[in-house]
């Protein structure tokens, strides 16, 4: 039977968000292939967590537990998963979240197995022959490419967080109560002889830099067209009166007007706001790929030909400096 494997990553005792997204997509793909959805879990004391995978109708979990697996060791994780492939049969595909860990581990496993790895996919589909169509944004930021690995198995891919649809979690948990428990196969981790070449020296939790951007219902985002810190303050003032979070394109971050954690797009965050207002943003896909959902999108840009006007619901062709101050005043006036 054809197998679809997902590497289920957890941080601080919880599945990463992209793990849930991958599992929904992978279940779907496995069903289309009349195959099984099997999940790899590595860690220390993660058996209870692994049991929660039943909400995604997982067929089997390959569970590798060891105190040393608490810390991501590239060699140990790679060899443990390469062992799984030789022990339990080569799957059609192994999917990873495009997190720090996934982007490190997936290409290494692909190289060990001599197969292909598609990076940072934003969508996954199957073609009529059951090949995985791995949709990646790229080549300068104006185009999508469909990557296939036609003659090698497994097909390895990393998928960018926030790109695939996920189910509501409460709805999932309710359903899960009725589902049968997941079959758990315990597997030994593999410690290659040069394991000691990488040793954990210290760990520091990063301060939670929650900008609230990903959960924001309203977002005011700025790009290169803002052209200076004074303009950026004006944008922040508008965001403030609208009760919106501030977002940015890469050029705005590179200019230093906004911090890196406010970046939306290919190398930043994926957002699903009800209201998005983009100011001085050209509409390069590197940014707009990070705007998902069915919210109302608005753009203000001086250039009537800007690509952003083909991607939004309402456009204003004007210098933002003339619009923003009156917009701010009008919002305040309407607020009373």
């Amino acid at each position: 039977m054809k197998q679809v494997w997902v590497f289920a990553e957890h941080q601080a005792g919880q599945w990463t968000s992209v793990t849930g997204e991958l599992l929904v997509a992978a279940r779907n793909i496995a069903d289309q292939l009349n195959g099984e959805l099997n999940v790899i879990v590595c860690g220390d004391q993660v058996e209870e967590l692994a049991a929660t995978l039943k909400q995604w109708k997982v067929d089997r979990v390959y569970l590798s537990q060891h105190p040393e697996l608490n810390f991501y060791h590239p060699l140990v994780y790679t060899e443990t998963i390469v062992d799984l492939v030789s022990e339990y049969g080569c799957p059609e595909m192994i999917l990873f979240g495009a997190t720090y860990l996934g982007r490190d581990l997936a290409p290494a496993i692909a190289a060990r197995l001599g197969t292909g790895c598609a990076a940072d996919c934003c969508d996954l589909k199957l073609d009529e022959n059951g090949n995985l169509l791995q949709i990646v944004p790229g080549l300068g930021g104006t185009i999508f490419a469909t990557i296939v690995t036609p003659f090698h198995r497994p097909q390895v891919a990393t998928v960018k967080p926030g790109m695939l649809e996920t189910l509501g979690s409460s709805e999932n948990e309710d359903k899960a109560k009725a589902l049968k428990p997941v079959e758990v196969v315990k597997v030994e981790p593999r410690f290659p002889q040069n394991t000691a070449a990488i040793q954990l020296h210290s760990v520091k939790q990063k301060p939670a830099k929650e900008s609230g951007l990903q959960a924001a219902k309203r977002i005011v985002a700025g790009g290169a067209g803002i052209s200076g810190p004074e303009g950026w303050s004006l944008l922040e003032e508008l965001a403030d009166v609208l009760g919106a979070a501030v977002g940015a394109t890469r050029p705005a971050v590179d200019e230093g007007w906004a911090s890196h954690d406010l970046m939306i797009g290919q190398s930043g965050k994926t957002v699903r706001p009800e209201l998005y207002l983009g100011i001085g943003i050209s509409g390069d896909m590197m940014h707009t790929i990070g705007i998902k959902g069915k919210g109302t999108l608005i753009a203000i840009n001086q250039d009537p030909k800007a690509a952003i006007f083909k991607q939004v619901d309402y456009g204003i062709v004007a210098d933002y400096r003339s619009i923003l101050p009156v917009l701010i005043e009008e919002v305040k006036r309407r607020e009373g």
């Binding site: 490190d104 692909a110 190289a111 954990l200 707009t288």
Partner: protein, 271 residues
């Protein structure tokens, strides 16, 4: 401390300042770089800087490896002016169009052909491809450990480096034993600018060109045909919305229209 033999992998990329000029070859589905000046991939400058700093501290040799068409030679010259001792250009028509694994195979063959090494440093990702995959794949092929996205690095003794990496929730310091492959972020250092003296010195340094024959590479695993991944299709983003352009006699009128459209009335918003 002992001197180190350091290999730096450099990718010549289209100048980021000219990236809007990029085009796609519809047949091979690869990037057409013709006419756009090539520069050192920005993060590879940091990789080179890290290597040159280690050499300046304790001696050794910095060798740059690059898989590139012959036009990459000018980029090689630039790496020599920035402090590399020697550059190896891995250049052959059959290398063209390789994916990350095919590229890693060529780089690994080049590094092995050159002899002993203690440390390989790559930029964390390229400006144009951006997959960030080559470093880890190169390490697998060389049979050594790897650490990707290093933001800080320090040599602690003859055989060990202390490196810092960050994932989404943690910052970790790792003690790594040489030989190792590292990929570095741009924050790892401040890359030095070109100096006149560096350019003068570069003229006395050597650029060697290796092709598939000199590297004894099996053609089955390299170039477009030897790549496990293929680009099947390229398509423009689905421009699913066409903006209704709001116009008016004054900014005030336009602002009012916008707020009416999104249903922003008294007591806050409604969508």
């Amino acid at each position: 401390m002992q001197p180190l033999q350091i290999a730096i992998c450099v990718k010549p990329v289209p100048d980021p300042k000219e990236s809007t000029q990029l085009q796609i070859n519809p047949t091979t589905k690869t990037l057409v770089r013709k006419g756009i000046p090539l520069v050192i991939n920005p993060m590879d400058r940091n990789a080179l800087e890290a290597g040159v700093k280690l050499k300046e501290a304790n001696g050794g040799k910095v060798t740059v490896f690059s898989m590139s068409p012959p036009e990459g030679e000018l980029t090689m010259l630039e790496t020599l002016a920035l402090g590399a001792d020697e550059a190896i250009l891995l250049s052959d028509l059959i290398f063209a169009g390789g994916d990350t694994l095919a590229t890693a195979r060529v780089l690994a063959a080049g590094i092995k052909a050159q002899g002993n090494w203690d440390l390989v440093i790559c930029g964390a990702e390229s400006f144009d491809g951006g997959t960030a995959q080559v470093g880890a794949q190169l390490a697998v092929l060389l049979g050594t450990p790897w650490i990707t996205r290093v933001s800080h690095l320090k040599r602690v003794d003859d055989k060990h480096l202390l490196v810092t990496v960050e994932d989404e929730v943690e910052q970790r310091e790792l003690l790594v034993q040489l030989p190792v492959v590292l990929t570095v972020e741009s924050v790892v250092n401040q890359a030095r600018p070109l100096s006149l003296w560096g350019i003068v010195e570069a003229r006395n340094k050597k650029i060697t060109v290796y092709n598939a024959d000199t590297l004894k590479l099996d053609q089955k695993g390299i170039g477009l045909d030897g790549s496990p991944t293929q680009t099947r299709d390229l398509f423009a983003p689905d421009a699913s919305r066409e903006a209704e352009i709001l116009t008016g006699d004054s900014p005030q009128q336009i602002a009012n229209q916008l707020l009416d459209k999104i249903g922003w009335s008294r007591k806050g918003a409604a969508n």
